[in-house]
Assembly symmetry: none
Homo-oligomer: 190 residues x 4
Amino acid sequence: MARPRSEDKRNALLAAAVQVFAEDGISAPTARIAKVAGVAEGTLFTYFSTKDELLNQLYMEIKRELREAMLSTYPRAADIKQRASHVWREYVDWGLVNVDKRKVVAQLAVSDRITDDTRAVASAGFAEFQSMLQESMAKGVLREHPPAYVGAILVAIAEATMDFMLKEPAAADQYRAAGFEAFWRAVASA
Amino acid sequence: MARPRSEDKRNALLAAAVQVFAEDGISAPTARIAKVAGVAEGTLFTYFSTKDELLNQLYMEIKRELREAMLSTYPRAADIKQRASHVWREYVDWGLVNVDKRKVVAQLAVSDRITDDTRAVASAGFAEFQSMLQESMAKGVLREHPPAYVGAILVAIAEATMDFMLKEPAAADQYRAAGFEAFWRAVASA
Amino acid sequence: MARPRSEDKRNALLAAAVQVFAEDGISAPTARIAKVAGVAEGTLFTYFSTKDELLNQLYMEIKRELREAMLSTYPRAADIKQRASHVWREYVDWGLVNVDKRKVVAQLAVSDRITDDTRAVASAGFAEFQSMLQESMAKGVLREHPPAYVGAILVAIAEATMDFMLKEPAAADQYRAAGFEAFWRAVASA
Amino acid sequence: MARPRSEDKRNALLAAAVQVFAEDGISAPTARIAKVAGVAEGTLFTYFSTKDELLNQLYMEIKRELREAMLSTYPRAADIKQRASHVWREYVDWGLVNVDKRKVVAQLAVSDRITDDTRAVASAGFAEFQSMLQESMAKGVLREHPPAYVGAILVAIAEATMDFMLKEPAAADQYRAAGFEAFWRAVASA
DNA sequence: AATGAATGAGAATTCATTCAT
DNA sequence: AATGAATGAATTCTCATTCAT
């Protein structure tokens, strides 16, 4: 395992990977990524020992960034619906701004090149949100189901919602609001 | 006349593609598919001119089959919630039985090798279900949103639900029921 | 060796071969030829056992046709320069009319798929012209050289001449005349 | 800096291409060329992006070499016939020594894989010789024709002559001398 | 550590030829 | 005999990874 000297170069490679994978799918050649990052083909391999390593790191990195975004302004003291609404909004807005990253994660998520370990690490970061959601479900239909399931439903509805927001930007605000209402009724209603 | 092109062989190739792609991802080599289908490497190309063509045909075929499954016992006369429930159940159960096909569609859906045309044809088959769903939304939070959005939410929640049903088979029935309730509250509640 | 039933089909295949090879070179697939000829892919092989066989037959056929053209109106009784001039003109004009055949022969001639046997048979047909040429050389610089050499020079100059006639059609007549004069001086002058 | 691209390797590949193409025609596989050149199959493609590129480069290279040979000892000050004779001799002798290259150029010249650009570049190198030839024609039958035509006739007669020199090596000297005389009478006689 | 040339195992086609109909 | 699907060896080119500089 190499001890990369420059954090900048690593970031440049990850950013280039996002761009290239978004354009051409995760089967795009590493050489293209290196070129976009402005480094030599071989250099990529001192930062990521294999392409699969790059794929896995990239997956974790993007998930981490998403969590960061959701966390940055998280109103820990607010009431439950407000907190849920905050998470919803941060998630959806992050997805709209980071179209490429979202596209790439979608491909990585269904790829068998992402290991179970990576998936575990990536989802661990969202535990806090899930336990929050659990609270909200106390009286809902899903009260007996694991928090991860509610989290999955939030993500599922949010992803569907983003697709429509992107397709009809003029109605984006309505979609965002209606999507959250739908989610909230789904999981929290008495 | 020479040997006629065989529908059986075409089906064998599609079935082999499902198996191989489920195992190794859609980047698996065509040679493997031909071998599993029991035909020569070149034969695949008399049925599908390119690998992309195979991918697109496969996508449409699986979607068609799913629709077939949802349609076969569709209770046109039943009340709305029953019809929605029927669709839900057929969809979810099809996904549980056809694990490989579901896995492959998931990859195809995010791949840019599937053309817009193919996507259009594939989703056209579900128009009927969507208009049915629209009825159910008449009084819900989504009443002003397009039926396709409600369809997307159904699919989204169903997919999340299937994942948990497969992870915890013992609780499968509860998940299926709770998932539908969640969906119904999300879209139909007053 | 097959006993083809229809001479027509054989000719159609040879004509199609000329067209296809002229367009795409002699590496063009046999399937294309069959299609242009209006027969099935496999049928080609009842008329020509292999592609090489087709190539060789085609070479001989075209050479035969060229000889035919040169022979049809050959003025056996005329004086030597007139006979040589006749040969020249027939050759050059045949080449201008049969652009495709000329192009194909050019490729076949340098291909190692044409056997020595085929070459021998093809050139045998031109013996008469060569012995005629020999007469014309009696007093020329080439008087001690084999008639085949003079024949080769005629062909060489004629081919160069045709290229320019095709490039500058307006000057075609001058080229044809000047070319022959050049040839005649080359071989026949005292 | 990494290993620099090696001119030696490029030359080895071109030399190997000559050998392999002379043996088996220009349809010989690139893998054979790489092997003969002593490099990996993929390496060929770092020097020539496609097989067609190799073909075109090879064509230009051989033509350049031929011109070089004709130029190296070109007696600019000598009288016209001597200069023409020099060109003739250099050309013919180059062809006799470089049998393989001559064979390969013959195939390349009639192949449609050689682009018009390549042909233009390759023939540009011979402009000087052609303008020299033009002088020699001042009083000949071809005086009104373009110098390229005279050049083409020289080449045509020379090629025919080489064939006979190779077939009858014992008479090579006579052929070379007679061939030039024939050419000279063809184009320069009053 | 950085570079990019070198490597060689694939991968998707292609195509002459065979053979069931 | 005619048809065209079936065959599978062969071909060009790609690309992750290694390694000389």
